[in-house]
Symmetry: C2
Subunit: 288 residues, 2 copies
């Protein structure tokens, strides 16, 4: 498979390989059952060289995902080396994603887990989003005492997240936001939710909701605290957003994307807060 897109495939214990060549055994449980975890880190190459943003935080979350699934433990030091080796080997300019994946190994014959880091450019920049609200079919507290539902765990079983993005596109929207069956906003398929209102910043609570703890949100919250502000965790309903000053979906890869429409209803767009949040998250401000 020839391509001009610069990308890197690196394997734990082996280093950088030729991208595009087959790597995963067909009976690897990560492939046959989505039985593995992942994380996604931002890679930036600019005049100062290449860097990986918040590598330790992402790899520690990666390790928590593996532990929650009973996968072999993640060696954060070894993965840090692999991620930086992969980032260094990436020949592109600008922004890329480094996706790390760790699986349970062979389904039919016991074999080592696949541990891989993939680097590829990020398609497009953050733009104002029209978003469709899609139910998860679960109440906001459905993950309480049900660890087998893998709430807050970044598994590679992402088929419903991918299907939600396709459903959003089918409705003419750019992205989705999940809503619980009892009507509370949760998170995007690949992002966390932030709402500004009455001079405060709110996000949605993790734990019982099954929402993935967002590294980007944690970084924003620390900068907010340093600026004397707080990011509160709060369950919110879509109808509350009409009173908001601004609404965003944030992630390590796309940064801080303003949500300007929910199910066809316009939401307020605040360029000033967008710039502040993007700066706190380590991104150039989104245009819009």
């Amino acid at each position: 498979m020839e391509t001009s897109i610069p990308r890197v495939v690196a394997v734990l214990g082996r280093g950088v390989l030729t991208p595009g060549s087959p790597l995963v055994p067909a009976d690897d449980l990560g492939f046959t059952r989505g039985d593995g975890c992942f994380d996604a880190l931002r890679v930036v190459r600019d005049a100062e060289g290449v860097r990986v943003d918040h590598a330790t935080r992402h790899l520690e979350r990666f390790a928590r995902s593996a532990a929650a699934m009973g996968l072999p433990p993640i060696d954060v030091a070894a993965w840090t080396g692999l991620v930086h080796e992969a980032a260094e080997a990436w020949e592109g300019e600008g922004e890329a994603v480094c996706k790390v994946i760790w699986t349970r190994g062979g389904e039919f014959v016991a074999s080592d887990p696949v541990g891989v880091a993939l680097v590829a450019p990020v398609p497009g920049s953050c733009v104002p989003l029209r978003v469709a609200a899609l139910t998860t079919g679960r109440r906001a507290d459905a993950f309480r005492d049900a660890p087998w539902l893998l709430g807050g765990v970044k598994t590679i079983s992402y088929a419903t997240n991918a299907a939600a993005k396709r459903e959003a596109a089918r409705r003419g929207a750019d992205d989705a936001v999940f809503v619980s069956s009892d009507g509370y906003l949760l998170e995007g398929p690949t992002s966390a939710l932030v709402v500004a209102r009455h001079g405060l910043l709110d996000t949605t609570p993790t734990a019982h909701t099954g929402i993935l703890p967002s590294v980007t949100l944690a970084v924003i919250a620390e900068h907010a605290a340093a600026a004397g502000r707080e990011v509160r965790e709060r369950l919110m309903k879509p109808e509350e957003l009409g009173l908001a000053t601004g609404v965003w979906l944030v992630s390590a890869i796309r940064g801080v994307c303003p949500v300007v429409e929910l199910d066809g209803r316009p939401l307020p767009f605040n360029p000033r807060i967008t710039r502040t949040l993007a700066r706190w998250a380590g991104f150039a401000p989104a245009e819009g």
Copy 2:
């Protein structure tokens, strides 16, 4: 990876390959996001040769899974050829599973889907099961009007199914049965539920429940109809099982397994109906 376990890897458009060698690109969406579908067929090699049970039914369900996910269409004739080629190449004796998998192709660079058929022996025979009831966190009608939840679609995003089996083992049980948040029995992580009561056979309804339509159950229902009996679809609560004559988890691979205990409470075991159901499903009767 050397092994003495006989198994086969065959690829759509290429045929039988050496098992154990890497086959799947690391950025295949089936691997990075569980964004693909699968099905599992029973292979039997005995004195009469090798056969694949109900290949067309399984591959037609496989095609429906692909269509529900917006994957490239399944060519049932081509897959039938691949499945039989893989089964013929299997050098084992007795029973095996043929798992077919179909993915969306490359995440970072557009590439062909992976289409693969894997054959490997089935570990162990069907034994009486002690089962743990685990909530899905969703009501029994949660999949109504929410196709992005992929109810009834056999995706390779099976991490919660695998986690449910681990939770069952942690509780000292052999398998799990999912229960809706409003208290209805649904299905096992890899099997369908059948209950005999008052001389009737009941199973749980598909469609709004998200339950996968079981090929084995359809075969049983046809034999039942030929014998002048009906398999009814009905929502049931665990507490009703105390009045049952027998309870089973059925699948194409393990056959008809009696459930003899639910959450530590014994359930009646009926060897006669077990033998009948197993014969209808095309299996030797389970021992117990």
